[in-house]
Symmetry: C2
Subunit: 305 residues, 2 copies
């Protein structure tokens, strides 16, 4: 099933206690699409500069990612650089050069218009809305956002998520959006903003899914070594929407088994955990669906009582 993914494609410089990379493929759209590619066919909408290497296009292409919506414009690709300390929980951003991403105006290829699934990565809310309005046949649409839009563009953000089926954010963003420190109360307030489903990512502490009719919680997968947590939240998103797309899920016109939503959260957690096992997107070079399903089963064993 075809899943349209909007977001950033970037180059990252990353340093962790396990080593460093000077320039490696990154950006939310790359991570989401690579993670989702194990379940569905991701079709991306993103922009890169004329410095974007053919090898990096190949990384995406080799996983079946549809690149017709990847626009190349004169200038440099979005560049981000960060360092992680020993305990990995508090990363420090060194550089954020938006470059060509600063003027990103997503152009949906005609071929994508009737695709059933849309995930709107973290970009300006009005641009997210513009993409959604071009797709009349959606069976689900959801997305991510960040503190920058919550504090600076809240009315615009609220108008955007009002039309979403799900919102997928981290716990501090959920508290900020709801202006409420208690997560359960915050979730209730967010569910009243439009989305029927709210997924809250808690990093190493796992994730939660809230709906009016269900609450689901899963602890984080305990890795022997966290090489690089960059992109783990986006890989969670990719696993979550990828699985729902694979199952042909219709979150709009409901009538589904909510347990499938719980399983989507587990697949999200599985993809987030694999992401941390190597630098950047490197784990996807040789990751197999069999390994993914084995880790899904591990989650079952680790949480059964």
């Amino acid at each position: 099933m075809s899943l349209v993914v909007i977001g950033s494609v970037a180059y990252d410089a990353i340093e962790t206690p396990h080593g460093k990379r000077e320039r490696t493929l990154g950006g939310s759209c790359s991570y989401i699409a690579l993670a989702a590619s194990y379940f569905a066919q991701p079709s991306i909408v993103a922009v890169v500069g004329d410095d974007f290497a053919p090898e990096d296009k190949m990384v995406l292409h080799s996983k079946g990612v549809d690149l017709r919506g990847l626009e190349t414009v004169p200038g440099k690709t979005f560049f981000w650089s960060g360092v992680y300390p020993a305990d990995m929980n508090d990363r420090k951003t060194l550089v954020t050069d938006l470059n060509v991403f600063a003027d990103f105006d997503p152009k949906l290829p005609a071929a994508y218009v009737n695709y059933p699934y849309l995930f709107l990565g973290n970009i300006q809310p009005s641009l997210q809305r513009k993409v959604q309005q071009q797709m009349p046949s959606l069976r689900f649409v959801g997305g991510d956002t960040m503190n920058f839009w919550i504090s600076g563009n809240k009315p615009e953000l609220l108008e955007t998520i009002r039309h979403w089926d799900f919102l997928l954010i981290n716990d501090s963003e959920a508290k900020m959006l709801a202006e409420e420190n208690n997560l359960r109360k915050a979730a209730e307030k967010i569910l009243a903003m439009g989305p029927n489903t709210l997924v809250i990512k808690r990093g190493e502490y796992g994730a939660m899914l809230f709906r009016k009719d269900t609450l689901f919680m899963v602890p984080g997968y305990l890795l022997e070594d966290v090489f690089d947590p960059t992109g783990a939240g986006d890989c969670f998103a990719g696993g979550f929407v990828g699985y729902l797309a694979e199952r042909g899920f219709d979150l709009r016109n409901g009538n589904f088994d909510v347990t499938e939503l719980h399983r989507a959260v587990i697949y999200g957690s599985v993809m987030g955990s694999f992401c941390c096992e190597e630098f950047g997107v490197e784990r996807f070079r040789n990751l197999t669906r069999k390994e993914i399903d084995q880790r899904f089963d591990e989650f079952r064993r680790f949480t059964a009582f």
Copy 2:
């Protein structure tokens, strides 16, 4: 089944965003015994000053707690005072007056000597060991400790926990004890120190149980209102050991169903969550076993996929 509990009985002054209490029954031993009383018969060993009120003895007595090991000596009862900010995660200790607890030398009543279960709350490791050595018929012994003993009395602490079946600590203490930031590696190192079972409490993020043959994880229960988190970790311990005692568990001479250990972690989480619903030990006034079992079932629903 009789469960001996060693620890502090104290008076607490607590302030949270929901209100305050000037002087309320507290201390690890009180919380552990009250939580465990729903499953087993706790017999405590603790010390209070001559200011300890008969009403507070009655709080414990009314739940069937055996008070023959509660010694009263001249002086003041241990007093602790703390304040919680809006997000509840970072409490500030205002006062710690050890008073009569400073010279606590646990005296095991003769009647307790052959009891099968022992939980050693956080006191000086050599005193914990002294109690254990007086009990020849143990079917399990385990306990808690804290950063103060880990950094200041490590050799003594290691000699003490070497003889325990389980250790129950929080995540930062586990990392500190193992000198390892990765929890999975830290757990392996701790399991090599003696205990066959390690339970790591993560506050609102839940808990984990590690053994050579099993790993179990549970997310935290999501409360609508956290009135007062004081004692939640001790109530977790009380629920965990109480359930194992109720089931007649033998962790020493093994041959048991590890799933029962997972359920003990859930009962621990259940008791920790109830503790937060009112100030101090107040929730135990009217808490019923039926409510406890209902929340256990809720945990099953919230985590099934």
